[in-house]
């Protein structure tokens, strides 16, 4: 099978250490960027929505905002693929704890915010987006599997797609099994053809091998604390220049090999 090519037009990133994609480049250049505020800004949400929104929504909307702004596209036109290994862990923890003690007291708002597609639901509302939207999970391969779904939408439907992959920090007894030590979110705007906002081309191929590419320092240990941080293999490449990386696309069985070509170096002119 020949490689699948898509074009990156925007990148978003948020963790407690890195407030955006530029901060990743700064870290890789050996500097220490200023950490962002404790709560992601999620500027595109209406103020009352932002006050009430669970952290999983703030995180996903923040990285989506960053990537869409960089792409200069109208958010309402983008199909949406939101990936998360665990969904909103604080809400799952709250629900399971409440159901164990007093099930009739379950909060209706927290219940409707517990659906895995709550972040993409709020995103489509705030961006007035009627395009197809989906919410997907694949445990530690959630970024790779979400990328594969996004790339198939880009190429099969020939339309630009917003990919978000995010997981909030674990909470309560659940944290012991999810192992999520901190929040991490990233986003890509992907398009089927090159355009004025293109920053890189990605050529993707499926592989039987799923070994994750080692991360450059100081990122080496960062993948352990959050499944969405598996995306750092690709984000570091995007930040540093061209090259190849590999990601898990399905647990233990399948990988994606990505060859990245930066527009400014290989493809200009």
């Amino acid at each position: 099978m020949s490689a699948l090519r898509v074009w990156v037009e925007g990148v978003g990133l948020w963790s407690p250490q890195l407030g955006n994609f530029a901060a990743l480049r700064s870290v890789l250049d050996g500097r220490m960027p200023t950490p962002p505020a404790a709560r992601p800004a999620a500027a595109s949400l209406l103020p009352n929505e932002r006050r009430r929104a669970p952290e999983s929504v703030l995180l996903a909307v923040e990285v989506a905002d960053q990537a869409v702004t960089m792409s200069t596209r109208d958010a309402a036109t983008l199909a949406c693929v939101f990936a998360s290994a665990h969904g909103d862990q604080p809400i799952t923890d709250y629900m399971c704890a409440t159901l164990a003690k007093a099930p009739a007291e379950l909060s209706p708002i927290r219940f409707h915010n517990s659906v895995h597609n709550a972040p993409v639901g709020y995103w489509t509302m705030s961006s007035h987006c009627h395009a197809p939207s989906t919410s997907v999970a694949a445990q530690r391969a959630s970024f790779g599997a979400g990328l594969l779904e996004a790339v198939s939408q880009v190429l099969a439907e020939q339309r630009a797609v917003l990919l978000v992959c995010s997981d909030s920090a674990g909470s309560g007894p659940l944290r012991e099994v999810t192992g999520c030590e901190q929040a991490f979110g990233c986003a890509l705007v992907l398009a089927p053809t090159a355009g004025p906002s293109s920053i890189a081309a990605l050529d993707l191929q499926l592989l039987a091998d799923h070994a994750d590419t080692p991360l450059p320092e100081p990122l080496a240990g960062w993948r352990r604390g959050n499944p969405a941080a598996t995306s750092l293999a690709l984000l570091a490449r995007l930040s540093q220049g061209s090259g190849r990386c590999r990601l898990a696309a399905a647990a233990a069985t399948l990988g994606i090999q990505i060859d990245m070509l930066r527009i400014d170096k290989e493809l200009a002119g």
């Binding site: 290994a85 409707h112 895995h116 012991e176 069985t253 399948l254």
Partner: protein, 401 residues
Amino acid sequence: MPMSTTPLAVTAYTATSALGHGLAAQFDALANGRSGLRPNDISSAPLACWIGRVDGVEAATLPAARADWDCRNNRLAWLGLQQDDFIDKVAIARARYGTSRIALLLGTSTASIGATEEAYRQLDADGGLPDDMLRPALHTPHSLSAFVAAALDLSGPCLTVSTACSSSAKVFASAARMIRLGLVDATVVGGVDTLCDSVLFGFNALELVSATPCRPFDARRDGISIGEAAGFALLERAGLAPAAPQLLGYGEASDAYHMSTPHPRGLGAELALRDALARAGLEAAQVDYINLHGTASQKNDEVEAALINRSFPATTRASSTKGYTGHTLGAAGIVGAVVALLAIEHGLVPGNLGGESPDPDCGASFAWRNEQQRIDVALSNSFGFGGNNACLAFARAGFAA
């Protein structure tokens, strides 16, 4: 509008719901007007409502090698996989294409959260999960797909779609794209959701659960009955299986309106319907039957009835079958797809069970009683929280739009 796309063959399919195990049980109940709903006997605390519970899930033991995956949701998945020779048909595809050339795309809204609820009821003295429940692969939304991938020995792309009640409809769209791009040669799609406290008390908190068996499109409807189900289908290129029914098209769209209330004019639902018809290359009048989302919630049924009234002639028949199975949430998409495929196979328009006093908003397309007629084309509607809408178009073997 999307261009029309090449159909796919549905070379195997199955469903297990409150109506029984496998296709024959689903069809027999539909043909005889027999509901699978019963008074709630499953929640950890009393809750006065009716449920669509599958008999025999407790006894559906997983193979010894898969014991770590044990939970109600995976037992129902395993029970569902064993019906209608589905496992054997996947084995044939595996031999033909290779394990890595078959994708596995499953929908679920809550996966094995019932096991997480159970672990929280048994926290140990220091407030942690009990030792026998420290199973990371189980307490996560992907547990269903990861278990089924292991059970079917599939190693291709594997993804869980979790868009609430449209989940297991959207997997058909993802499958069609992956096959069209040549990423895989075949796809196992489907979905499983099981009854658990989260959904029973959650929908109850939203005041969306009826105390009586649900009455879709009835003037007196007052909420949903929650059910559980497992369903699967095998999709391959149509040219290889000319005798199989076909997936003609799919449509997906977002309401961008509210987390738990549909758009008042059904905007997302209508966009999904239009896209499904466009991809299928169909005019509305060519549709013989529509299996409606029809949950028996006030708003869903009002909005969906208006959509059917303004979009289809009376010759297009439409009904909800939630009165039979209950609303099976993340499995509703595959259950609706299977009812559409059964309708084509048997020439049966299933009557809209529970609609004893039809809502006057429902137009001439509504089939309140069973009808026998040839069905070439059938649609299935699935709408979920977050304003997530999907519509699938199926046709009999050999049908060309």
